[in-house]
Amino acid sequence: MGNRETIVDPRGPIIFDIRNLWAYYGEKPAVKGVTCKIPEKRVTAVMGPSGCGKTTFIRCLNRLHELSPGARVEGEIFLRGKNILEIDPVVVRRRVGMVFQKPNPFPTMTIYDNVLAGYKLLGIKLRREEADRLVEEALRKAALWDEVKDSLHKRGTYLSGGQQQRLCIARALAVKPEVLLMDEPTSALDPKSTAKIEELVVELKKSVTIVIVTHNIAQAGRVSDYAAFFYLGELVEFGPTSQLFTVPRDKRTEEFLKGKFG
């Protein structure tokens, strides 16, 4: 449409190359022919009005979508050149971690075991020092270490909502994923916890690629380098956040940013 490209390829290394991705619930498509490239070690924000397919889209990227009843995916998603739709989903999910809208620590596990859940649940044995080191490293990365270092053996569910969410981030980071997907990670949190997680996101992109769904335009502006705007299942616009926010190329993006819908 028009003479200006609405899907802009990012500069620098690419981690995900997504081509004509369709995702269905039964017969109904929720993601319609999305094509874009996700830059490595950057934060990409996924925006759009409620029900436009943001969650569905990122759940395709770690093959969680196909677990919903009647769900189906078509197209290609290359992760560093390999189509993840053709490899074992379990392997994909080790490489592409996820943090959910509501914090979901394992209620039967301690903080320590929650962080190591990616190993323990798979029956991977770790030496004591190695486990301690992994836990500390992941909790430090998630900016939670100082708050919990004296209560590592308490249940994860004792923590506040914001702390629980950072525990979930630590749990995802502990298995050393290449990509971290975040689905509205702050929508259930208070402003202070939200600010903490936003800081964390910016810090984390040094080591991991982040794709974050957010309802909050200001948040996308604060944390992201690239932004994707979805509307009714279509990817309407994709480009550097600064560009998308100042000179949106599609009318619908412009209206969304002005708060006309959402």
């Binding site: 969680l64 379990v90 509501k102 394992f106 859940a117 323990k120 649940l121 749990r171 995802a172 298995v175």
Partner: protein, 281 residues
């Protein structure tokens, strides 16, 4: 003024009526408990718990063999019903989407409605007849058929109650579904699943009918599952219809033992259930 008072009066009397009615079902229970313990507790003694039965009129008879038998039957029945019940419950909650799941579910419900004496006949046909003699095992099979639907449905319900986000948390770490079930869902629902098992156990411990032509009864010590055993409900049944005073006294004693066992199980499952609703704190 008068109408307000009148309304207040109506309100109060309605409350009174409801309170009394609510207490009504508890009344027979208290009456039964009172009767059992008043007549049963005096039968308790060292020999009552540790001795074998004696012919009527002979002193120091006990129900030791029946207590051992009841424990053995309960354990065997649990060993059969718990693994199968939990697995079917998991299947119904996690995997069964189509018609087959519905069939299993209906089967469990129907099994729950089958009269217990019929399950005794099943135990007879499956084991007693082919083996040529009565046995604890055949009784345990009949009892496990009674436990099974309770465990299946309670496991299914508990697992269904767990939020989907819990499964997602595990799956997103690259853990496959089966490991997620074993390592996350069952441990998280363990208190509830255990409660279901205890409820099932307390239901079967007092059953007489399924044992009549399976475990059959045995006046001697028996620790072999392939031989007939006694059980407390069988003792109660046999002694209570006898004309002998001391046997009748022991029937009350055996009832009291059974009642205490069942009450104990109920209490434990209640404490567990409270822990469950208190989010496992």
């Amino acid at each position: 003024m008068r109408s307000i008072l009148w309304r207040k009066f109506k309100d109060r009397s309605a409350l009174l009526v409801i309170t009394v009615l609510a207490f009504l079902p508890a009344l027979p229970l208290f009456h039964i408990l009172y009767g059992i313990f008043r007549l049963g507790l005096p039968a308790f003694s060292w020999s009552f718990f540790t001795h074998l039965p004696t012919p009527p009129g002979e002193p120091n008879g006990g129900v030791g063999n029946a207590i051992v038998g009841t424990l053995m039957l309960s354990m065997l029945a649990s060993a059969l019903a718990i693994p199968v019940g939990i697995l079917s419950g998991v299947y119904l909650s996690e995997y069964a989407r189509g018609r087959f799941g519905e069939v299993v579910r209906v089967a469990a419900d129907v099994l729950q409605g089958v009269p217990s004496i019929v399950l005794g006949i099943v135990g007879y046909l499956w084991l007693v007849k082919p083996m040529g003699h009565f046995s604890a095992l055949s009784g345990a099979v009949a009892l496990s058929l009674m436990m099974l639907p309770v465990i299946v449905r309670s496991t299914e319900e508990i697992l269904r109650m767990l939020p989907y986000t819990l499964r997602e948390a595990s799956l997103s770490l690259g853990v496959n579904y089966w490991r997620t079930v074993i390592k996350v869902l069952i441990p998280t629902g363990l208190v509830g699943i255990t409660t279901g098992i205890l409820v099932a156990l307390s239901r079967i411990m007092g059953e007489t009918a399924p044992l009549l032509f399976t475990a059959f009864g045995n006046p001697f010590w028996n620790f072999n599952p392939l031989q007939p055993v006694d059980a407390l409900p069988l003792t109660v049944f046999k002694y209570a219809i006898s004309p002998y005073q001391d046997w009748i006294r022991q029937a009350w004693g055996a009832s009291a033992v059974l009642t205490l066992m069942v009450l104990g199980l109920n209490l434990i499952s209640r404490i567990l259930a409270r822990r469950l609703s208190g989010d496992g704190k």
